[in-house]
């Protein structure tokens, strides 16, 4: 059965950071996992929140003085690499559903109130988007991420596993 995989922002950042210079083990692994997904036959999706977060994160890397390999050329190549996938329709940009922010706030509340764990704003929005994508498809989808808050959240609230599974890319 074809896998349906939603990639969040940090998955795309590993993909970008793992491409240049001497990437650390995490970025190298992240790059490799995402590359395999792209060349495989899974259906891949992301959302416009990931696109703007990716754009923001690339800029922040370029502005950071600690790592010179992340320069303007890297910014442009990384943007081109992601957007090319969208352009050729290898990567679907799924819509953010109505009331996503309102619903994300509810998920953040149960995370800290019921379990005392962190589940940050945009992570909650990504989960809402992935859930809505799965519901629209009528099937379970995978969320590809490198953020450990996702598996922690889903383990704390296992009923979400009926809709999403977490794929750690690094």
């Amino acid at each position: 059965m074809t896998r349906h995989i939603y990639l969040d922002t940090c998955a795309w950042m590993r993909f970008a950071e793992g491409r240049v210079g001497k990437p650390d083990a995490r970025n190298r692994q992240g790059r490799s996992v995402v590359e395999n997904l792209i060349t495989g036959d899974s259906v891949l999706a992301t959302c416009e929140v990931a696109l703007i977060e990716f754009h923001d994160s690339l800029g922040r890397r370029v502005r950071s003085t600690s790592d010179r390999q992340f320069d303007e050329a890297w910014f442009e190549d990384s943007t081109k690499e992601l957007m090319s996938l969208v352009a050729v329709r290898r990567l679907e940009v799924v819509p953010v559903p109505p009331k996503a922010v309102e619903n994300a706030m509810a998920l953040m509340t149960i995370a800290h109130r019921d379990e005392g764990i962190a589940f940050h704003a945009w992570d909650a929005v990504h989960l809402i988007v992935a859930l809505a994508w799965g519901v629209a498809l009528g099937r379970q989808v995978e969320v590809a991420t490198c953020d450990t808050d996702f598996p922690r959240f889903v383990e704390a609230f296992p009923h979400f596993k009926s809709y999403v599974t977490i794929l750690m890319v690094a």
């Binding site: 559903p97 109505p98 309102e102 519901v135 009923h159």
Partner: protein, 165 residues
């Protein structure tokens, strides 16, 4: 993701409403216990929750519905009950814990009223968040006297339990 959620352990009522909603092409999730309903509420993000006062897995119906409002202040909550007396239902409405209370009267009337609620939720489901309404609901919920809610909930539960005996 889902427009409406009905939580009631009366399987006949649930099945009747589900099939009628399906015939009209309405989106409706159903659950027959509080735990199942809460899981659907969290994962499917409905705009309307219709719940019976007494459900398997729940001890205090009002506190549970208040918990739903705490997570989504502007969500529409309808309480249905065949056991709670009308005076107490009126007090629930007066306190503003839920948006509507319904006594399970005749089956046809109950079903028609619930279908109207579900239709309304379906028509609004794709609309964006009404933030002034969310903010207003949040402020009203914060003004609620929790002690009064707890007392009313305890009294309602005691009366329902007494009827059972």
């Amino acid at each position: 993701m889902a427009s409406a959620l009905l939580i009631d352990d009366d399987r006949e009522l649930v099945e009747t409403i589900r099939s009628n909603a399906a015939e009209e092409g309405l989106d409706l999730d159903v659950a027959t216990s509080w735990d199942e309903g809460l899981a659907l509420f969290q994962t499917r993000a409905p705009d309307l929750v219709i719940a019976d006062y007494r459900l398997p897995g729940s001890r205090h119906g009002l506190r549970l519905l208040l918990a739903v409002k705490q997570l989504r202040p502007a969500i529409r909550v309808v309480l249905i009950s065949g056991e709670v007396n009308p005076e107490e239902l009126a007090k629930v409405e007066e306190l503003g814990i839920v948006d509507r209370v319904m006594s399970k009267g005749s089956a046809i009337e109950t079903m028609e009223s619930l279908l109207d609620e579900i239709k309304d939720a379906n028509s609004k489901h794709l609309q964006p968040t009404d933030w002034p309404q969310v903010a207003q609901s949040l402020v009203e919920r914060l003004k609620l006297d929790q002690k009064k809610v707890d007392e009313l909930d305890d009294r309602m539960k005691a009366n329902v339990d007494k009827k059972d005996r």
